[in-house]
Symmetry: C2
Subunit: 236 residues, 2 copies
């Protein structure tokens, strides 16, 4: 692969840059203690994450109008509060809980690896998270991006090809000049299909100790890295 | 004015954050020397800047399709090369010259003032410059924004109200929670009309020693500042 043609790296965020699972479990447990709730927060975190695919599907098919992830997370949360029998939250407390997605902690290697990669490439998230979510997350976590890109700017969700093409267009680059970095084969294969280069990063604990998905990178990806530091070692 | 409700500052860029005039003159003179051109680069810089309003007008009226500023600058440059009798540039040299807009130097107070303001507020450019231009400019000039916002995301140009409304929506904020910072009354009044707070910053040399415009802030603006450091003194 000719690295010299690559000008920008775009990153999946949930699971690739940040560890949604342990942050949600941690905040959930703190809330549970405060409110004397009996909730399996591990199951709750997985259910919240899993709920977003069916909702995105309803947006894709037109059953729902365009709604960003803040709005989808809110709709899923409404269902989870019933399912997990979480009662007695004020609207402000519910809003605070919904914003946990802005407070997700980066994986231990993410900030430093990103800083190294940023010296050589333009770096931007390319997430289904919306601009406000990603911007606030980056500020809190001190992740230094060159700009914030999101599915929101294409009004459709990954892995829709339009998301990747919109990102390349906004960067003023050809798809071949952009490398998608993700811990998920689906995301990488969709980016690859429109011409992006691809880097698979192992996040073997994204779904906890019993993870079964994305433990093996698709053989077609350009680069395979253990984490962001290893990715920087290989390409920066 | 109740500052506590303000969550984000959006900045005009050309003239407010960066000094387009002296950078273009400096690069023009260097090019002129290299190519043995007899050009009044001061006049050239002003003509390039002035050319963009008529082209934006043609986009607004639908005479031209949506084109971003990179494309408009290129079309204006094509005319200027004829008018100023600048011959003998290769396509690559012309492209490099067109990208001078990505290499504009910040005003001396901009970087440090912005860093102070960023501690309290979300900060983002909200420029007619396109995302790629603003992203590359920020990287080169080491301006640390929280995200990059642009007219490009609304597919229309300031002072169209949709530009400001799109920015607030992407930030997840009400217009009243955003303050527009600019050295231009037109920009501020348009932002104010949709509910933004406004800060006027004096840039008395944007157009050189003979500047006549925007030397007096409109009386309706919320804050008047000498520069970004002064703005930080007042609101950060």
């Amino acid at each position: 692969m000719n690295l010299s043609s690559i000008k920008a790296l775009t990153f999946d965020v949930f699971g690739t840059v940040v560890d949604w699972r342990s942050t949600i479990i941690r905040e959930g447990r703190a809330l549970g203690k405060q409110k004397a709730l009996e909730v399996d927060w591990e199951e709750f975190a997985h259910a919240w994450r899993a709920g977003y695919e069916p909702f995105m599907h309803r947006v894709r098919t037109g059953e729902l109008p365009w709604l960003n992830i803040d709005a989808l997370h809110w709709m899923i949360l409404d269902e989870l509060l019933v399912r997990f029998r979480i009662a007695g939250l004020s609207e402000a407390e519910k809003d605070h809980l919904n914003r946990v997605w802005r407070r997700l902690d980066p994986w231990p290697d993410a900030r430093a690896g990103l800083a190294r990669l940023r010296r050589r490439f333009l770096v931007a998230p390319l997430s289904n998270g919306n601009i406000a979510l990603l911007t606030n997350m980056a500020k809190r976590a001190d992740l230094r991006w060159d700009c914030i890109l999101s599915s929101e700017l294409a009004h459709c969700y990954k892995p829709d090809p339009e998301v990747y093409l919109t990102a390349a267009r906004l960067l003023g680059l050809r798809p071949q000049q952009v490398m998608m970095v993700a811990a998920h084969n689906t995301d990488l294969l969709a980016a690859q299909a429109v011409g992006f280069r691809t880097a698979f990063v192992y996040r073997t604990e994204e779904y906890g100790p019993n993870q079964t998905t994305d433990l093996t990178p698709d053989p077609s990806v350009d680069v395979i890295a253990r984490d962001f530091e290893d990715l920087a070692d290989q390409i920066a």
